[in-house]
C-alpha cells in the first residue's frame, strides 16, 4: 500500500512550549484515520503543520514522498491536501453555490480566475456536490443564512470541490444534533471510498460510529495523541483497552 502522508520526528515549539513533540505518523492511500486526544494534545497544530500554516521546528512532513517544508498554504492546497476547520469557515456573503464554485475553480491564478471560463464539467461537478451535501434547495441563498449543521456540510462540500487526495477534517460534528452527526458520518464514509481522510475528533460516540461503518477493514485505525506525540495506534477496540489511553483520555471521559 502506498504511503500518502509520512511524518517523521515532527516537533513544533512555540516559545519553548512543545505543541508537537517528536511525532511520527503515516497514512496509507485510501485510509480513513481518526485522530483523538484530550484538549491540548496538539491535534489542531498537527493539521496546521500539514497544511503549511505552521512551520515545523524540527522534523518533516512528506506528502506523496515530497517534503512540504518550503510550500505555502495555497501551494499545499493545490498539491491536493484539503482542510475543513473546526468551526465552519465559509464565505458568509456568497451564496452556497458560489462558495462551492470558488473552492472548485480549476484556475486559481489571478488571470485564470479573471478570464477562465466555466466548463460544463465544472458546473456539473458543482451541481453534483450540492446534491451530495444535501444543499440543493438552498443553493442560491447566502451562506450566512444556513444553520450550523448546514454550514458544516457546506464546508465539507467546498473541501471535496477542491478535489484533494487527502482530506483533513477537524471536529466535523462539533455542535451538531444526533441526526446531523449521523448524516455527516455517512458523508465521510461515502467520501472515504475514493479519498484518504484524517478526521480529528473529540466525540467518542462519533468515532465509534465511523469505526462501525468501516467494519473490520485492516486500515480502520485510530491514533491517540497526547502531549504532542502519538500515545498509541490501533483499532478502536485495541485503543479502548490500552491502559495508557484509559488513563489519559477515555478514563477521564468515563468518570462523568
Amino acid at each position: 500500500m502506498e504511503r500518502i502522508l509520512n511524518i517523521q520526528e515532527l516537533t513544533v515549539s512555540f516559545d519553548g512550549f512543545k505543541a508537537l513533540n517528536d511525532l511520527n505518523f503515516s497514512l496509507d492511500r485510501g485510509e480513513l484515520r481518526v485522530v483523538i486526544g484530550p484538549n491540548g494534545a496538539g491535534k489542531t497544530t498537527f493539521l496546521d503543520v500539514i497544511t503549511g500554516k505552521v512551520k515545523p521546528t524540527k522534523g518533516y512532513v512528506q506528502f506523496k514522498d515530497r517534503s512540504l517544508r518550503n510550500f505555502s498554504e495555497d501551494q499545499i492546497s493545490r498539491l491536493g491536501i484539503g482542510r475543513k476547520f473546526q468551526t465552519p469557515r465559509i464565505y458568509q456573503k456568497l451564496t452556497v453555490r458560489q462558495n462551492i464554485e470558488l473552492a472548485g475553480n480549476p484556475h486559481k491564478s489571478l488571470f485564470g480566475t479573471l478570464l477562465g471560463k466555466k466548463s460544463p464539467t465544472n458546473q456539473r461537478q458543482v451541481a453534483d456536490l450540492l446534491g451530495v451535501v444535501g444543499l440543493e434547495p438552498k443553493a442560491d441563498i447566502l451562506a450566512e443564512l444556513l444553520s450550523h449543521g448546514e454550514k458544516q456540510r457546506l464546508e465539507i462540500g467546498m473541501l471535496v470541490a477542491q478535489s484533494p487526495e487527502l482530506l483533513l477534517v477537524d471536529e466535523p460534528v462539533a455542535g451538531l444534533t444526533d441526526e446531523e452527526t449521523a448524516e455527516v458520518g455517512q458523508l465521510l464514509l461515502n467520501l472515504s471510498a475514493d479519498h484518504s481522510i484524517i478526521v480529528i475528533e473529540h466525540d467518542m460516540e462519533f468515532v465509534r460510529q465511523l469505526s462501525a461503518g468501516l467494519g473490520s477493514q485492516p486500515e480502520n485505525r485510530v491514533t491517540v495523541l497526547h502531549e504532542g506525540h502519538v500515545l498509541c495506534e490501533g483499532s478502536m477496540a485495541e485503543v479502548q483497552k490500552d491502559p495508557q489511553v484509559i488513563a489519559v483520555y477515555l478514563g477521564s471521559e468515563e468518570q462523568h
Binding site: 495555497d74 492546497s77 486559481k108 438552498k138 441563498i141
Partner: protein
C-alpha cells in the same frame, strides 16, 4: 425582439446607463444654464471625476476589505502628470513660468517626456498603478493587512506630501502647478470649450470606470475579492494566493485615482501637494461610506452627493461644512452602515420578500406541495371566517 432584450438584466443596465449619460451630456447642463446655475456644470464635471476615484476606493475597500488612507498619492500623481503636459504646451524653447523664478534655465529630464500627449496619457494610468503595485507587493507579501495596511498607506501619503511640498525648484513646491492659463490644442484650458471637453471626458471616464469595476466584481473574480475581504486566511486553504489578487486590485484602484486626479486638475485649474492632504484621502472614504460600500453605484452617488452637499452648504454656512461632514459620517456609520444605496437595496428586497411571501431561509418549504396546500387551506378558512 426588443422585449427579449429588455428582459436580460445586462441590457436593462446598459440602457439605463445610456439614459443617464444622455441626460448628463445634454439636458442637465442645459437646465443648469437656464436657471442661472451654469457654474454648477463645472462642479458636476469635477465631481464626476471624483466619482472615478470613489469607484477605485470601493473596489479595494468595499469589495476587498483594504482601507487605504493614502489614495491622495495616486490622485496627485495623475494630476501632476497631466499638469506637466499642459504646462509644456508652449512655443519651442520656452519654459513654464515658475522655472525662471527658481533659476532653472533648462527643462529637467523628467519633465521632457511629458510634452507628448500619448506618453502623458499612459503615465496618468501607469505611474500611480506602478507605485501602488510596488508598495502593495511588499506589504501583502508580508501578510500585512487590516489596520496596519491603513496606517502604512497614511504614512506613505505623508512621505509623498513632504516630497512634493519640498521640491520648490522642480515642481513649484507648495504653490503647485497652475494649469488654467495653459494652452490645450490652441485654446486656453479655462475656456468654455476645453472645460466642456473635460466635462465630457469625466462623464465617459466615469462610465468606463464603472464598466471595468462592474466586470471585475461581477464574476468569479469579484466573488474571490469578497472572500478575501471576509476571511483572507481561509482563501489560502482554498488554494488561492491572495497576494497577486490584492496587488492587482490595488493597482487598478490607483489607476482610477490617477485618472480622477488628471480630470479633476484640468477642471479645477491647479494641482498642489494639498491633494495629498490627509483629510482629502479620508474624504474619499466618506464618499464611499455614505453612498454604500460594496455597491458601485453607491460609490458614485456618494461622491456626487457629498461634494454637492459640501459646495451648497459651504456657500450658505462657510464655517460649518466640516461639522456637517463629520456629522454625516457619524450618522451613516451608526444608522445605515451599508450606506444609502445599501440601505435602499435592503429595504427594497425586504418589501419584495414580504409581497411575494417567500421565505428566505427555507426554500424547501415553498417547494413542498403538502405544506403549500395546507397553507392555502388555512388561508381560505381564515378568510371565510371573516
Amino acid at each position: 425582439m426588443l422585449t427579449r432584450i429588455l428582459r436580460q438584466p445586462v441590457w436593462r443596465e446598459v440602457i439605463m446607463i445610456g439614459g443617464v449619460v444622455l441626460l448628463l451630456a445634454t439636458a442637465i447642463p442645459q437646465l443648469l444654464y437656464a436657471i442661472g446655475q451654469g457654474f454648477r456644470v463645472g462642479l458636476l464635471g469635477r465631481f464626476m471625476a471624483l466619482g472615478i476615484a470613489a469607484l477605485g476606493i470601493d473596489l479595494i475597500w468595499g469589495y476587498t476589505g483594504m482601507l487605504s488612507l493614502g489614495h491622495g498619492i495616486f490622485f496627485a500623481l495623475g494630476g501632476y502628470a497631466l499638469a506637466m503636459f499642459l504646462l509644456l504646451q508652449l512655443p519651442a524653447g520656452k519654459l513654464p513660468e515658475f522655472f525662471s523664478l527658481n533659476g532653472v534655465t533648462e527643462l529637467p529630464w523628467f519633465w521632457q517626456p511629458f510634452s507628448s500627449l500619448p506618453f502623458t496619457l499612459i503615465a496618468v494610468i501607469l505611474i500611480p498603478s506602478l507605485v501602488a503595485a510596488i508598495v502593495g507587493y511588499f506589504v501583502f507579501r508580508n501578510r500585512i493587512r487590516g489596520v496596519y495596511f491603513s496606517i502604512l498607506t497614511q504614512a506613505a501619503l505623508i512621505v509623498f506630501y513632504n516630497l512634493f511640498n519640498s521640491q520648490q525648484k522642480w515642481i513649484n513646491g507648495t504653490n503647485g502647478l497652475k494649469t488654467d492659463s495653459a494652452m490645450f490644442f490652441g485654446k486656453v484650458v479655462s475656456s468654455i470649450e476645453v472645460q466642456w471637453l473635460f466635462y465630457l471626458l469625466s462623464l465617459f471616464g466615469l462610465v468606463g470606470a464603472y464598466g471595468i469595476c462592474r466586470w471585475l466584481t461581477g464574476g468569479r473574480f469579484g466573488r474571490l475579492l469578497i472572500a478575501i475581504r471576509d476571511d483572507e486566511p481561509r482563501v489560502r486553504f482554498s488554494g488561492y494566493d491572495p497576494t497577486g489578487f490584492k496587488v492587482f486590485v490595488l493597482a487598478v484602484s490607483a489607476a482610477l485615482a490617477g485618472i480622477a486626479g488628471a480630470l479633476f486638475t484640468a477642471q479645477s485649474g491647479i494641482i498642489t501637494p494639498n491633494a495629498m492632504d490627509v483629510s482629502f484621502s479620508i474624504e474619499m472614504i466618506i464618499w464611499v461610506a455614505v453612498g454604500g460600500r460594496g455597491t458601485l453605484v453607491g460609490a458614485i452617488i456618494g461622491a456626487l452627493l457629498v461634494n454637492f452637499g459640501k459646495s451648497v452648504l459651504s456657500e450658505q454656512f462657510p464655517a460649518f461644512w466640516l461639522f456637517f461632514q463629520g456629522g454625516m459620517f457619524l450618522i451613516v456609520v451608526a444608522a445605515v452602515p451599508d450606506g444609502l444605496v445599501g440601505w435602499a437595496g435592503r429595504t427594497w428586497r425586504e418589501w419584495e420578500q414580504r409581497s411575494s411571501r417567500k421565505s428566505a431561509t427555507y426554500p424547501q418549504i415553498d417547494l413542498d406541495e403538502n405544506l403549500h396546500r395546507e397553507k392555502t387551506q388555512t388561508e381560505k378558512l381564515h378568510n371565510s371566517g371573516k
